[in-house]
């Protein structure tokens, strides 16, 4: 095994362990922290695949921004632990069915894509050069301009929605 492969398996173990920890933690704050660790592990995967830009964006956006907000909300609402006995009863049947479908898809893609090694092909080496940022920027603002703008409008709508929902009525409490 090469160093890359050893690293991959260690990281994979950490990623699976943190994901399980996130699901099974009784305390919501611990769940959130496990999720942060999981995101960090995924970021290291991207680094291994030679994509530093995506790795660092992963840390900034998910671990740095989104999860901090999650933690913020959990702590603000004091929702660290749910009261016992409030689990939806039939949920686990649907959940395990969906999980089976997901696992089947993943196995199909892994086996179908590169049967010889079982590992996914590495992306091209150009990702690790100075130009990779330029390439991403050019791709975003030329070929993928429409999805990019659509995403930004979606975010804007969400933001306006949040402001409308929390805005106080005129003449109400000040």
């Amino acid at each position: 095994m090469t160093i890359d492969q050893i690293l991959f398996f260690i990281l994979a173990a950490v990623a699976v362990a943190t994901a399980l920890g996130m699901v099974f933690s009784k305390n919501a704050v611990y769940s959130a922290l496990f999720l942060v660790l999981n995101f960090a592990t995924i970021a290291v995967f991207y680094l291994l695949l030679g994509a530093p830009f995506i790795a660092i964006s992963q840390v900034t956006v998910y671990a740095g921004a989104i999860m901090v907000l999650f933690l913020f909300v959990i702590m603000l609402l004091g929702a660290e632990s749910l009261p016992p006995g409030k689990v939806l009863r039939h949920q686990w049947i649907y959940a395990s069915g969906l999980a089976l479908i997901l696992v089947g898809e993943a196995v199909y893609i892994l086996l179908g894509r590169n049967a010889a090694t079982g590992m996914i092909d590495r992306p091209d080496a150009f990702l690790n050069t100075v130009d990779s940022l330029r390439e991403i920027g050019m791709a975003l603002f030329t070929d993928y301009l429409l999805p990019f703008e659509a995403t930004s409008i979606l975010l804007l709508v969400a933001m306006v929605g949040a402001i409308v929902l929390t805005k106080q009525e005129k003449g109400g409490q000040k």
Binding site: F53, T60, A65, L69, M75
Partner: protein, 388 residues
């Protein structure tokens, strides 16, 4: 891999870590003495010559203090929170170049621990991770004051991170790269603080908020929250928070110096003299590049920037929390967006028409900055009359 690469990495990492740790120790003394001067006192001058051994005395005192863990605290998170706060404050310095690329002992040496292409993004990522330690410390203490302090600081840091990111964007636009070495090299002719003065000023204000310094030191507003997120911490755990805060100050000053004040480069008017970091010095038959001036210039710039931080702390009252938030969201964010726009247009004009057009950026941005200040003044004045 060659063992000399490992040696080079080890030496560079140790240099950065030890300069940050020593910097922290003497920054506390520097701050206390400077504050004392401003308040017409003398300050600590008993331990050693001019109080130079005071940091050592403080360290010994803190080591021997008793460490308390509140009975109802979340023990695990309570233990890890100071460490999570401390690590980013050191790691963030990894990408900052402290000298020009030079040839030493027959090999090319880059004076930064990690010379990566996404350096600016790395800074952004680490800055956004730094919130965790404070939030977790506040939560795990199981104390309402600590909790409120942690929540305030997370809200504050998230809000000001946006303007911080736009400040980074300004530097990236002007330097045409995300690599910090390239950004410093691009400031050979002129500092970005001169090309985009309003952007640099906004960046400096935002960094104050980002490291929770006065007048934005909400998380530890003594009158309201006792000591904020570290109320329950004592002994060395408290010392770690203290260290993290001062190391963040140093790191953020290094970042500001790198992005806007020419980093390790000489002052732009010394560019072709023997004081330049590119100059070749000749002593007898021995000729060498003056690379060692790089760290000295960076140190000088950091000390000056730190003095401004201390000066502001000594002279400005704390801003009320809601005003802090509206200042960040309603003033700094739109203004820094406008600055990014002006810089982008200026860079484009300079590329397409002629390099002289780059000077439209400072002219237009100062005009816009003054206009914005006047409008804020007007708005505040109206509110004052209305309340009477």
């Amino acid at each position: 891999m060659d063992w000399t690469i490992w040696l080079e990495w080890t030496i560079k990492s140790l240099f950065v870590i030890f300069s940050l740790l020593t910097g922290f120790a003497y920054l506390t003394l520097y701050e206390r003495r400077a504050l004392a001067r401003i308040q017409v006192r003398i300050g600590p001058n008993r331990a050693g010559w001019q109080g130079l051994l005071q940091p050592v005395a403080d360290a010994v005192k803190l080591i021997f203090k008793e460490e308390l863990t509140p009975a109802k605290a979340d023990k695990l998170v309570f233990f890890w929170a100071p460490i999570i706060t401390m690590v980013p404050s050191i790691v963030i310095a990894a990408v900052i170049p402290f000298g020009p690329t030079t040839t030493l002992f027959g090999r090319e040496i880059v004076f930064s621990v990690a010379d990566i292409n996404v350096g600016v993004l790395f800074l952004m990522a680490v800055a956004s991770i730094a919130v965790y330690g404070i939030v977790l410390a506040g939560w795990s203490s199981n104390n309402k004051y600590a909790m409120l302090g942690g929540l305030r600081s997370s809200a504050q840091m998230i809000s000001y991170e946006l303007s911080l990111g736009l400040g980074f964007v300004t530097a990236i636009l002007l330097g045409n790269s995300m690599n910090l070495n390239d950004i410093v090299d691009a400031q050979k002719g002129m500092w970005f603080a001169v090309v985009q003065p309003v952007g640099a000023l906004i960046f400096m204000i935002v960094t104050l908020a980002e490291v929770n310094r006065a007048p934005f030191d909400m998380p530890e507003a003594e009158q309201e929250l006792t000591a904020g997120y570290h109320s329950e911490y004592s002994g060395m755990k408290f010392a770690l928070f203290f260290m993290a805060e001062y190391q963040k100050m140093i790191a953020i000053c290094m970042i500001a110096a790198t992005l806007f004040f020419g980093g390790y480069r000489e002052f732009w008017f010394l560019q072709n003299t023997f004081l330049s970091v590119d100059a070749l010095w000749t002593i007898g038959a021995w000729q060498f590049q003056a690379w060692f001036l790089g760290p000295l210039y960076l140190l000088l710039k950091v000390v000056v920037l730190l003095f401004f931080m201390i000066w502001i702390r000594a002279t400005w009252p704390r801003i009320r929390y809601d005003r802090l938030m509206s200042f960040g969201w309603k003033v700094l964010l739109p203004l820094s967006l406008v600055m990014v726009f002006i810089s982008a247009v200026g860079v484009l004009l300079a590329q397409e028409i002629g390099p002289g057009y780059i000077w439209l950026i400072p002219v237009v941005s100062i005009a816009v900055g003054l206009f914005a200040t006047a409008m804020i003044d007007l708005a505040l004045r109206r509110k004052k009359y209305a309340s009477h």
